[in-house]
């Protein structure tokens, strides 16, 4: 798929209780924190004032927090809402929450948990937060497919009305988690670099 004029204008990686913004370590939490504690600490550090965060499942919290960090000063929020889309992927879909929900069924099943038993709800939460109304897709694949994540968003910018697209990987299964969220735009910025699979790979594995 052609990749005419698509640029990576920002990245946010979350792993091992650390948050990296545009390749640099932005914040490191206590390594002893469990995932939910880490997420709460990250919310307090980078956001607050969004009580619905506490109701989200771990997958949504992870994606939401990465978007919060990545989009803090991004001009993309000034674009018309239907011009911003999203293409995310992961390995375990919503399995982490599926199992949590399943364990409530034998008592009284929880509607608040059930609504998160779909992989794409994380995209819904990010859209609700930032008002984005463009095209969304969620792929399930074994590993972070940098080829897919470079060619498909590039094509969306080329052939659809989208002018910007969040793309990447949001995975969680119990305490194992990893987020790699990228902002892709059809305009170059000072920090930006052309969108290629290799560029995504090098940002994904900064060391």
């Amino acid at each position: 798929m052609n990749s005419a004029s698509a640029y990576i204008t920002g990245s946010c990686i979350i792993r091992h209780n650390r948050i990296y913004l545009n390749g640099a370590l932005l914040w490191e939490a206590d390594q002893e924190l469990e995932l939910q504690e880490f997420l709460r600490a990250g919310y307090d550090r980078f956001s607050g004032q969004y009580p619905k965060f506490h109701k989200m499942d771990a997958l949504s919290k992870l994606g939401w927090l990465a978007a919060e960090v990545l989009l803090k000063d991004a001009g993309v929020k000034l674009l018309p809402p239907e011009k911003v889309g999203m293409v995310l992927s992961n390995r375990s879909a919503s399995l982490d929450t599926d199992l949590r929900y399943y364990s409530t069924v034998k008592d009284i099943a929880s509607p608040a948990l059930f609504v998160y038993t779909l992989a794409n709800i994380v995209m819904g939460e990010i859209c609700i937060r930032h008002g984005f109304k463009g095209e969304n897709t969620f792929f399930v694949s074994d590993t972070f497919d940098t080829e897919l994540m470079s060619t498909y968003p590039a094509q969306l910018l080329a052939v659809t009305p989208l002018q910007a697209c969040l793309c990447g990987w949001v995975e969680v299964m119990e305490q194992q988690y990893e987020v790699a969220l990228f902002l892709i735009e059809n305009k170059q910025s000072e920090m930006g670099q052309p969108l290629t699979g290799a560029a995504l790979s090098s940002l994904y594995q900064p060391e």
Partner: protein
Amino acid sequence: MADLKAQIIEQLNLQEVAPESIGNDQSLFSKEGLGLDSIDALELIVLLQQHYNLRIANPEQGPQIFQSVRTMATYITANQTVQA
């Protein structure tokens, strides 16, 4: 009603709300009130079942019962039979 407020906060995961900050007659669902949504309403139905053994089969009863902490308490008192 203080117990009920604590239960609501726990059930709905309202981590940044203190029980005493919820007024007895404050609207639970309006934006000016607690700003709860349709999923919260379903969780309140679960709460009534779990803590008070009250079943609401028809979700259309929800808005009336869940107007405020006071209307919830009134409903509980009126419908609760002998506690086992």
